[in-house]
């Protein structure tokens, strides 16, 4: 079985993100970048399935600047067999991502697509769902367990207030949640081997996909600073403040 995973290059989760002074976005120049943690979980899942003998080939796809090659190499060092970079300097919004991924899926015909549930930069949480809709495939989002049985997969989903267990037909799109697995540390010999694995670079135009943005960013701003707290005399005053000032009850 062939599996396709997607990997996004994002600002390293440990870096403190700063908004650009002109409010057009966040500062990315000279900032450490890394693979989106949810994508890392997707890669780890695919590699574990390959190690278990369920999967025969893993393809990783990334979309973005030329440096995304490094992110793909990291995925290959984790155990992905080959990479495809759809290179573009333009802003790629979730729908465009979904269209590109669909075009590659049409070509590669994987039986399973594993994606991160969201990227930690824009937190959109849309691409996986859109890919599934464009393909007309079943989807299972926010999964914390996946077991493949022939033409079906059993998944556990993290939902409000608990866990949902589903059986879905393959081919399908699955998105990962934090508890699915803990990604491995890449080994040094595998970093060396990853350099020799095939990495194909194409452009969105090669896939015939229109990636023009549909959404316009008006302004990016820091969240408001938390103001100092106040002391209340008694419960009565607290309730009154919650009701009249904060208006939360």
């Amino acid at each position: 079985m062939k599996v396709l995973v997607t990997v996004k290059r994002v600002i390293d989760p440990y870096v403190k993100v700063r908004v650009k002074s002109d409010g057009t976005g966040v500062e990315t120049a000279n900032v450490k970048m890394a693979m989106n943690p949810f994508c890392e979980i997707a890669v780890e899942q695919a590699v574990r399935m390959k190690e278990a003998g369920v999967v025969t080939e893993i393809i990783a796809v990334s979309i973005g600047a030329t440096q995304c090659q490094e992110t793909l190499r990291t995925a290959m060092a984790m155990g992905v067999d080959r990479g495809i970079l759809v290179e573009t300097a333009a802003e790629v919004q979730p729908l465009a991502v979904a269209k590109i991924v669909k075009a590659i899926i049409d070509k590669e015909q994987p039986k399973l697509v594993i994606m991160g549930k969201q990227a930690i930069d824009d937190d959109s949480n849309q691409s996986g769902q859109m890919v599934s809709a464009l393909l007309g495939w079943p989807q299972a989002t926010f999964t914390s367990a996946i077991t493949v049985n022939g033409d079906e997969a059993e998944v556990k989903r993290e939902i409000d207030g608990g866990m949902e267990q589903l059986t879905i037909k393959l081919p399908a799109v699955i998105t990962t949640d934090l508890r699915l697995n803990e990604p491995r540390y890449v080994t040094l010999p595998n970093i060396m081997k990853a350099k020799k694995k095939p990495l194909e670079i194409i452009k969105p135009e090669d896939l015939g996909v229109d990636i023009a943005p549909r959404l316009k960013t008006l302004k990016v701003a820091e969240p408001p600073k938390r103001s100092a707290g106040v002391k209340v005399e008694d419960v009565k005053e607290l309730v009154s403040k919650l009701k009249n000032e904060a208006r939360v009850i």
């Binding site: 190499r73 890449v186 040094l188 595998n190 970093i191 060396m192």
Partner: protein, 581 residues
């Protein structure tokens, strides 16, 4: 308590700018090396350090290694971390591919080592010593010894130790008494060794000790010392751990820092004598150990750099968040973060600039090591070796002395909080202190510099370096006066250094006078070479330029004072009656 974050961009910059990156195409076996590979490896090393090694730094310090009924137990979590470390292949980073290593350059290996050390120095000592044993056997061991041990050492399944010191033989190894008596095709070793780092532990299944000892017919002094491999468990026919050897750890030391690293007293031959195998020729042991010195001493220099970096990061974070008082001359208004106070800023900048200079020097040295081992051109190898030999005592002595000062400064930035253990800076302060002592004290480094390195060639290599430093071409517009002023300072410092060098060379018949100022000369060398290197890199960014400017104006002036000490200071030390002290 702060989490260390590896300065990956600075490290990559240092390797590319100073580590001989442009020259890699001329090195043997460097076909696969690239900037992307560098970045990927540093990145993954930093991830491993954050996830596995850093979390054990404080707990390892608090718990310490334990000696229980003759067994030495590493602190909780260390065994698991070590197994992860070797499973990820980090043990063989720069080792020969013939034995399962990756054959990567020393410049990269030293930066990766900086990451391990910043995250957890006590842990890092174990793989570092293992690398030392690997290199010694690779260079001087027989084919049989190599076959028996190298693969296991490169994979890290077995770890290594260096056994030099005895109670009566510290800096003076000529006093070694451990005996080796021939028997069949091996030797029986008897004696006591002290200060053996990771001499016994439960991280791995076997420990391979390199031991200095005397044969029965050995001449007196340093010319009668031989080197032996003494495994804790003798390899069986399958090459796995067989019978236990007659070696045991009788106790471990209680000490100031690096608590997680067991410092062992090793007893050889309590029963029939421990079985050992001779490395190379009889009586050449010390020379074999010394071929390892460049590597080992640079490694300790990197330890200094690493702890200074980690202390700097903690001090910086603290200085940004600690609000206290107002700026001098301001009486009202908001209180400021202490980072804005001029003296705190001075300390932080001193750390930042010195760390840049130290990292540049360590990478420069590692690059020379790469060249001296594997450059295609024989002449280049020889030239690199000469430079490496010259500056190696400086890389060890200056980086570690500097680091002790800088870590002390980092504690000062914290004020009273720094003196409290929970902050983390106190551990840095305790851990760093050993680095100016082991692997040859500061004075041993300084004497090596003035006696051997300057003495043997009459200062020729050092004067050649001074010429090279004078010829520094700056890719900066020299139009503005500010820049010209800096260059004048730099050139004056070089003149000062040249005079001091010539004085040291001229005093070769007065070893007492030279010894009295050797450490000062070594520190002077460090500062001058450090300035040369950071100026070389300064044109790359405005920040680097500003840091270089600070260093030139605030640290470099020490050089002229050092010159006076060197030229006129010795007699007041020597003439002083020791009984009056």
């Amino acid at each position: 308590m702060t989490i260390y974050s590896a300065p990956l961009q600075d490290m990559q910059f240092a390797i590319q700018e100073f580590g001989g990156f442009d020259d890699w195409q001329h090195l043997e076996g460097a076909e696969d090396w690239s900037a992307e590979l560098l970045e990927a490896i540093l990145d993954q090393a930093s991830k491993f350090a954050n996830g596995v090694l850093s979390p054990l730094n404080r707990t390892g310090d608090m718990q310490g290694a334990q000696w229980v009924d003759g067994r030495v137990l590493a602190p909780d979590g260390f065994r698991d971390a070590y197994q992860q470390f070797i499973a990820a292949g980090w043990s063989g980073l720069s080792a020969d591919p013939l034995w399962g290593g990756q054959g990567l350059p020393y410049s990269l290996a030293m930066m990766v080592q900086e990451i391990w050390n910043s995250a957890n120095m006590a842990f890092c000592l174990c793989p570092m010593l293992t690398t030392g044993v690997q290199e010694t056997l690779k260079r001087h061991g027989s084919a049989q010894l190599q076959n028996s041990y190298l693969r296991k050492l490169v994979s890290g399944e077995w770890t290594g130790t260096m056994n030099l010191t005895e109670p009566q033989a510290g800096s003076d190894l000529s006093a070694i008494r451990t005996r080796a008596v021939p028997e069949d095709d091996y030797f029986r070793i008897t004696g006591t060794k002290i200060y053996i780092t990771w001499g016994a532990h439960d991280l791995a299944e076997n420990i391979v000790h390199l031991v200095l000892a005397r044969l029965p017919d050995a001449p007196e002094g340093v010319k009668g010392i031989s080197l032996f491999v003494v495994p804790q468990y003798l390899p069986n026919a399958e090459g796995e751990c067989g019978e236990m050897n007659d070696v045991r750890c009788v106790s471990i030391e209680r000490k100031l820092g690096i608590h997680a690293s067991p410092t062992c007293v090793m007893s050889y031959g309590d029963h029939k004598g421990a079985i050992g195998y001779l490395v190379g020729e009889p009586h050449h042991g010390l020379a074999y150990m010394f071929t390892m010195m460049n590597h080992a001493r640079l490694g300790v220099g990197v330890e200094g750099l690493a702890i200074a970096e980690s202390a700097y990061q903690q001090a910086l974070l603290y200085a940004r968040s600690r609000v206290q008082g107002r700026l001098p001359g301001v009486r009202e208004g908001e209180r400021v973060s202490v980072i804005e106070l001029p003296d705190v800023k001075r300390m932080l900048l001193t750390m930042r600039a010195s760390i840049d200079a130290m990292r540049a020097l360590c990478c420069y040295m590692a690059g020379m090591m790469d060249r001296s081992h594997r450059h295609h051109d024989h002449q280049q190898r020889i030239a690199a070796k000469a430079r490496l030999d010259l500056l190696n005592p400086v890389a060890k002595g200056w980086c570690t002395e500097n680091a002790v000062d800088l870590v002390s400064m980092a504690m000062q930035v914290h004020g009273g909080t720094g003196y409290i253990e929970a902050t983390g800076i106190a551990q840095c302060y305790r851990d760093i202190r050993i680095t100016t002592i082991y692997e040859g004290t500061t004075a041993i480094q300084a004497n090596d510099l003035v006696n051997r390195k300057l003495g043997l060639d009459g200062g020729a290599e050092m004067l050649a370096l001074i010429d090279e430093m004078r010829g520094l071409k700056l890719n900066i517009q020299v139009a503005d006066n500010q820049m010209q002023l800096l260059i004048d300072h730099y050139l004056n410092a070089l003149l000062s250094f040249e005079r001091a060098t010539k004085w040291v060379v001229s005093q070769s018949r007065h070893p007492m006078a030279v010894a009295a100022v050797a450490v000062t000369y070594m520190r002077m060398t460090g500062i001058v070479v450090g300035v040369w290197l950071i100026l070389r890199g300064a044109s790359r960014s405005n920040t680097k330029m500003s840091v270089a400017q600070f260093y030139i104006k605030n640290v470099l002036p020490q050089v002229s004072a050092y010159e006076q000490v060197i030229i006129a200071g010795a007699s007041s030390t020597l003439d002083f009656d020791s009984s009056l002290l």
